[in-house]
């Protein structure tokens, strides 16, 4: 199903640009949910030996976690912690989007380099995986609000998930679920930390953590 994969590729790229260009945290969380669900479908599509129970289970768990549980946790956190509703970037939205375009071009180049070694992997998804990782990192370093940094972490996780899904032939189910569980726990721990930060300082500004230095 190359057409479906191309659609996922394009819409997935656009969600990244939407994350880079949106100032509202609520909208960012919804874009993240869409992106998570889209890329969860990748292993189902790219799997060579048909739909095994293993693949379906993995995709189902991913959709449930990234499409429903994470957004619910993040939206709940946003409502509870009473943040500013804006993302508060260090780097402006226009500059962020321009970075995204450059990152897309660079990921394309990197994917070209990598593809001979991983010839089984669909090229578009390889590129998307590298792009997702770079955008996730960029969101973490360029935004002040701790909640959007969690979103950046999850974008990065999406990238790593796609990379794993297309390159590694056979991963034991246990390992894949272990990674998912790790992400799940990480989001919870980060959520609790953000809640405490915002209660302490009245905002979730990561800059304020500097004042804790003794």
């Amino acid at each position: 199903m190359p057409g479906l994969l191309a659609t996922i590729h394009v819409v997935g790229l656009l969600t990244c640009f939407a994350l880079l260009g949106t100032s509202r945290i609520g909208a960012c969380i919804r874009f993240l949910a869409l992106q998570g669900v889209l890329f969860s479908l990748v292993p189902v599509i790219t799997h060579d030996d048909g739909l095994t129970l293993r693949v379906l289970l993995l995709a189902g768990a991913n959709v449930a976690l990234k499409g429903m549980i994470f957004p619910a946790v993040l939206l709940h956190l946003r409502a509870r912690a009473g943040f500013h509703r804006e993302v508060e970037p260090y780097i402006g939205f226009v500059a962020s989007i321009l970075f995204g375009i450059v990152a897309l071009a660079v990921s394309l180049g990197l994917a070209r380099e990598l593809h001979p070694a991983l010839s089984r992997a669909p090229f578009a998804m390889l590129e998307a995986a590298i792009f997702l990782i770079s955008i996730g990192l960029f969101l973490i370093v360029s935004r002040r609000n701790a909640l959007i940094q969690v979103i950046g972490y999850l974008v990065m996780e999406n990238g790593i998930f796609v990379f794993g899904a297309i390159t590694v032939v056979e991963t034991p189910l246990l390992v894949e679920f272990g990674i998912l569980l790790d992400a799940f726990v990480a989001v919870f721990v980060m959520g609790i930390a953000i809640f405490h930060i915002s209660r302490e300082f009245g905002m979730a500004d990561a800059d304020r953590l500097n004042t804790l230095r003794g």
Partner: protein, 302 residues
Amino acid sequence: MHPQNLVAPVLGLLLAPLLVGVINRTKALVAGRRGPPLVQPYRDAWKLFRRGAVYGEVTTALVRLGPVLNLATLIMAMLVVPFPGTGAAISFTGDLVVLVGLFALGRFSTVLAALDTGSSFEGMGASREVYFAALAEPALLIALATLTRVTHATDLAAIYGAIVIDTWSHALPALALVGVSFLVLELVENSRIPVDDPTTHLELTMIHEVMVLDHTGPDLGLIQYGAALKLWVIGTLLIGLAPLHGVDPWVAGVAGLSGMAVLAVVIGMIESAMARYRMTTVPQFIVGAATLSAVAFIVLLV
């Protein structure tokens, strides 16, 4: 040049103001008013052309030149862009770059005329216009480059002639992104609502309109007619993406004209449904359009 290829530009020259009429009518209907008649833009133009022009004491010939040059570039652009069902009147390799250049020249003449009036408001408008144009121009160029890549052709007539159903099926994401990008550019380049409000009365919030405040009579008529032509030309770029090549020319032409009407209604709906963006958000909107084109281009490289 075939004579039948001149039909579309002539039709465009005649029908372009109607597009503005349809937009205004749609906005009025959505707002629950009856609205001006569809031919109101023609009546306005007729009224303005019969009037005399007033020029400020500090102005030079640039003020008179601006509207004429702007209109001339847009008529040229109309000759280069093919309409569904016919070819372009003039076609040569690389005419898509010329199209972008013509838009830039028209804008340059308007900006010079605005600066020449010596009004600080018009200087402010000129500064904004050029800033936003600097962002919109790459979007248009990259979108056209994407089309070049999809169709393996280097002039607009060949590009639009090569878009058939098969093209859409193998380059669906890229063409869809280019289409959305053209729609955004139609709003940006013609100062429609999410970017600029053509009917605003507050000079401080204006972008394009503030540049033409000092133009009167026939000059203003030329500017308003030019605005309608620009709406038509960029609309043609968007409508031409429909896979109408190979269809009977009459059917394609009628489909193209109805497409333009639908486009005008869509613009009217967008204007009714959306509020103007803050001035600081406008660059984000335009860069968004450039991003769509760039993603379309890069997706093709995959």
